[in-house]
Symmetry: C2
Subunit: 408 residues, 2 copies
């Protein structure tokens, strides 16, 4: 086999990716941070920025995408729909969209960007990555806290709203802003969410319970697991068709199946977890690999720094203040404000769309990716070292293991 | 999203593939056959031959390949090296290579193929697919029988020998048959097998045990799982570098880790099993999808039928007779003869190499693929309905569940 052939081979790619994942865990352990941060950092190191070992090939991006879908599915499996659907969270999400959007627009204008690019940079700031924050909360065993529910709930509504913002931005830019089109987008998203939950908890859950009791399933218990993963991908497909992002779909699938009790229950829940361990790692590596420091000029550094600071504070204030105003206690409001900051892959995807449609140039793309990355790395540090510190120390003293990806 | 975009999306592909996998399980259940056969049949139905829903895209082939590697790893985890390394099995494999090779060559000559194509058709007949037979045996809970050990042992040696046969064929065709090159190929293969086993059971096992006892692993128990899968892919990479097929490598990794006892043992064994459930299904679907009936002309049908019959009998006799001659009882010799028949993906890969190097034409390729497929579908039927029937009925009477993919 030629050298090219070896480097492109699935065997080499997988060995390398899993090695990088392990290195990421080790980094996380050494610097006492979340595994997510460790793995993204490991991704940056092996990506084009430094070593250049891993490229963002179709293979890496496919497996990463697969990992993101499975990750949100396993996270969804820990939630009831009632935990999320809440007017409070809607208001947190809404303010968390408007504040960064406006601030981002004016900041870009100040730096001399034209209106098109400015609208677009504002849009990229509206995103919130559920994947990152939820995984950090999951790692810390905090998914069932009040603040976590608010963050997840608001992040999902945020995702809906920011995809809406993207549509509206595109309309503003093309000069064809039409209320009917926006309305259609909104209605499609709402219809998907409502129908998805009802269908999932009424119809699909029942099909699974029925399947679970057949002799077929007795012979092939793995069929439940295959079925559940199929549902996760089916939901993410429909979410994309409804104009939402795929991971909203798989999250919803998880939520819809949360309360199903099956004979072969452990099989599909553990199975999803095992898929997630391998492929979500690859997803986080791919986020690090997406970045190339070489495209960042010195001129751009100032813009990136200020953009990041604006991104941090607008989301923190935009979400934290409404939380506090609605009667959530100060500490939880702070956690919510910080927890909503990560832009993660969502802003990166928006940035990629902008680049492909020539709305922004390569350097602006790099700036948005770096901003996403910084906003992704910083909040877990704050959450772990500051906001959850007191409780964490106390728990450690009680001898309770709090740091694990495996939920009890 | 455009219709093209939807059909190419990972969400759509995964939903469809898992749906097809479930359909395959149902077919298998209905016709009371192995899940492998059911899933390959489902793959044929949705492939270009009939419905044309699934194509053999890079995505499908990557995930299928990944599935084959993981499948052989999980199978390897049930074997000790002493079960396989055996002179008896070597002789079974060797005769099982020579007889089909010679018979295939003369049959092709009779049908008017030139010497190049004839040598190549002979080579394609030498292959044995461990993946198929081993999975059938696994499904039936027969992996620990004497016959299964002989089949697996001989199939592995066969894989080494048939890749050697491919090298030798290429040399015959190019007129540059040189003993030194053949010797190098053999030595590389042997070196890999010996070093792989020693390194695995002495060094890698110890690293895993050490990792298992660290505080790092206590915090991140999934690291053992990631490590084990990494080793599987690393072994398959080195196997390819040594000129063997990737799955031999991952099988060897499994064998090397069979006897490791860890605190987080369940995690990595169950984890590998869960990966295998999803991705091995995709692998079996991809085998069905590889086939396109449209390329089979009426003229070709006779050749395919006779080629298949020759493939069946030469392997059956080539392996069954040496087994019997070496003192294995008649029933086990029959099982070994039948169990070695499946050409599966190995012959398909060889056929693809021939096509790419212009050694054979498109129609010969189709013939070899169909032959592979028929030899893959027929033996499980014989094994389940005939050779294992008596014992199976007896066991059913004892109330022991024998049909499950989950080994105890």
């Amino acid at each position: 086999m030629s050298e090219q052939g070896i480097l492109a081979s699935i065997e080499f790619q997988m060995s390398l990716l899993l090695f990088v994942a392990l290195a990421g865990y080790l980094i996380a352990y050494r610097i006492n941070q979340s595994a997510v941060v460790g793995i993204i950092l490991a991704g940056i190191v092996v990506g084009p920025s430094l070593l250049g070992w891993v490229e963002h090939t179709d293979f890496v991006s496919s497996l990463g995408h697969l990992g993101a879908v499975v990750l949100l599915f396993t996270i969804g499996l820990h939630f009831n729909i009632k935990d999320i659907a809440n007017v409070k969270y809607f208001l947190i999400a809404l303010a968390g969209i408007i504040v960064p959007w406006i601030a981002g627009f004016y900041l870009a204008k100040m730096f001399g960007y034209d209106t098109t690019a400015s609208v677009f940079i504002g849009t990229a700031l509206t995103a919130t990555s559920i994947a990152i924050t939820a995984n950090v909360l999951k790692e810390m065993g905090k998914l069932q806290t009040e603040a976590a529910k608010a963050i997840i709930g608001a992040a999902i509504i945020d995702d809906v709203l920011s995809l809406l913002a993207l549509t509206i931005s595109a309309e503003i830019v093309s000069g064809a802003l039409s209320p009917p089109l926006i309305l259609v987008t909104i209605l499609k998203a709402i219809a998907f969410l409502v129908i998805g939950v009802i269908l999932g908890s009424k119809v699909i859950s029942r099909i699974m319970i029925r399947l679970d009791n057949t002799r077929f399933c007795g012979k092939y218990p793995e069929s439940i697991f295959i079925f559940a993963i199929m549902v996760a991908f089916l939901y993410s497909l429909v979410a994309e068709l409804a104009g939402l992002s795929a991971i909203i779909g798989s999250f919803l699938a998880g939520v819809a199946l949360t309360r199903v009790k099956l004979k072969h229950d452990v099989s599909f829940r553990k199975g999803a977890e095992h898929l997630q361990i391998i492929f979500a790692s690859i997803f986080f590596i791919s986020l690090g690999v997406l970045l190339d420091f070489h495209e960042v000029t010195l001129d751009l550094v100032w813009f990136i720094l200020i953009l990041t600071i604006v991104a941090l504070f607008t989301k923190f204030i935009g979400c934290g203040v409404p939380a506090k105003l609605q009667g959530i206690n100060t500490r939880d409001s702070l956690i919510i404000g910080v927890g909503m900051i990560p832009r993660g892959e969502v802003a990166m995807i928006i940035a990629l769309i902008g680049l492909n449609q020539n709305l922004i140039m390569q350097d602006t793309y790099a700036a948005l990716v770096l901003m996403s990355l910084l906003t992704t790395i910083i909040p877990p540090l704050i959450l772990r070292n500051w906001l959850f510190k007191v409780k964490s120390k106390k728990k450690k003293a009680d001898g309770i293991k709090i740091d694990t990806l495996h939920q009890s």
